[in-house]
Symmetry: C2
Subunit: 292 residues, 2 copies
């Protein structure tokens, strides 16, 4: 992990995930399946974004802990469903067998469903706000980011594009929806709960958009040049599956350059912000430097 | 359909479902899959419960239309996932091929996911309230009712019990969670939005609990004695699958008697309510009389 990653914040999110994880009751297998996927490592990147966006605008991590957990629940749910045999058919994730490999396809589908419901349960039960309409706004952001016009839509186009020649516009659509929307919603959720002005929300949204794109490009590059031990999943899996990728369209060097441009743009936006954007800038650097 | 069913309310819910259905954009297939399952008929029982619970406490249908849609979205999502090959493997629902039969398993999983997210999107975007914290309370009810401690938990125990001898307690757990929780949450959501007092919420919760149980018992009975044309799905499917049912444990007559007791209890509770409970009583009668 890069030195620049805000490890303290990651540990904070980890701690809150443990604290808010529901009591294991009957039938335990569903909680075990949820737990397996939720606690299989990971940088808690989206949860960290909630916390750091809020902190940049002067709000304490503690205040947004519930929402930081919720975005991690949503991310994990989407991974479980993406990995299913009828979707991406992935057996390995973060170096561990995927949910359906351990618990069966039926329980994996239901564990994803349960994690998704728990995301909204945590926010509506635990999230604080000076004005409850901010909580409703956060729920709207997360629901929209994960639905047909967001994550699900991106996954559908990704599936439709397998083994086909696609253009840059389609590739961008897939990534903006599949990965970008939840990254953007995480940053916006933290900002909204911290009472962002319209201008601040605009700037942080622009930051998140560049960050999301850089994230996806480097992910694609890592799939080509990374090794399985670092990634925790098989490399070259995109290519073998005929998946659309940035290196596929622009070459490794071209893709790296695009990621660099996006990272710089993300950091430029932060300079216009009336707050300490250093950690968010570090996060942008971290995303880019993963590639090296 | 029974003469007692509030057809006008069903049409109202149907109309709102059409109004709130998201614009079909790219990729259209996901919206088509959502549309296929959402508009394949059905009594809109849960949406009607939201509206009629609110009306009983003096609130207009128009006020709770968004939440009435949301519970129908959640119900439809749960049906799509339940019907999947790796779960109940049902090819027919309401007389039409199920979502995965028409669109494939991958799109069906994602269409369920998208409907679920859209439920929270509609409430957080469209639901009115004099106090926004009521909307948050409704979201909490629906998230809890559909998660691991609700619908998902019931489905898991149902799957675990297939082909096994189970006792009454397990059967009750399955039905209370799988069907009962969302029925209860629908009634409670309507009541909360209508500004129910604690006592009113208690009474309507007790009503909903009896109604949910009666609903499930008659569903089981219909699976044995109904015909495919009326049910829109294969009858005898529970038995052939080794599923736990009320007629299986108590016989047809015993199960009918239990449904009658629950219906009467539901109506008794309504008499204690300081409002016009006639339509809710009719709904209880409707649930029982479906059986004839």
């Amino acid at each position: 992990m890069s030195a620049k990653y805000p490890e303290g914040t990651r540990l904070f999110v980890e701690d809150r995930l443990k604290r808010y994880f529901p009591e294991m009751r009957y039938p335990e297998v569903i909680y075990q399946a949820m737990h397996h996927s939720l606690f299989s490592g990971g940088k808690r990147f989206r949860g960290v974004l909630v916390v750091e966006a809020a902190r940049t605008l002067g709000q304490e991590p503690d205040y947004v802990g519930a929402t930081a957990c919720a975005v991690e629940y949503i991310h994990t749910y989407s991974l479980i469903h993406d990995d299913l045999p009828s979707i991406d058919n992935d057996d390995l994730r973060r170096g561990q067998p995927t949910c359906h490999v351990v618990f069966g396809e039926d329980i994996a589908i239901l564990a994803g469903d349960a994690l998704y419901s728990e995301a909204f349960n945590i926010i509506s039960s635990e999230q604080k706000a000076d004005d409850p309409s901010k909580i409703i706004q956060v729920i709207r952001e997360l629901a929209a980011a994960s639905g047909a016009a967001g994550m699900v839509g991106g996954q559908v186009v990704d599936l439709m594009s397998e083994g086909k020649e696609i253009n840059t516009r389609t590739l961008e659509f897939i990534h903006e929806k599949k990965t970008g929307e939840l990254i953007r919603a995480s940053v916006r959720a933290g900002a909204i709960l911290a009472g962002a002005s319209l201008r601040e929300l605009e700037l942080l949204t622009a930051y998140a958009k560049c960050l999301g794109l850089a994230f996806q490009i480097t992910d694609d590059v890592l799939d080509v040049i990374g090794d399985t031990a670092v990634l925790g999943k098989a490399t070259g899996s995109d290519e073998s599956r005929g998946k659309a990728t940035y290196p596929g369209l622009f070459g490794i060097e071209g893709a790296k350059e695009m990621a660099k441009t996006m990272t710089d743009r993300a950091k430029d936006v932060l300079r216009e912000l009336n707050g300490d954007g250093r950690v968010l800038a570090d996060l942008a650097d971290f995303v880019y430097e993963r590639e090296l």
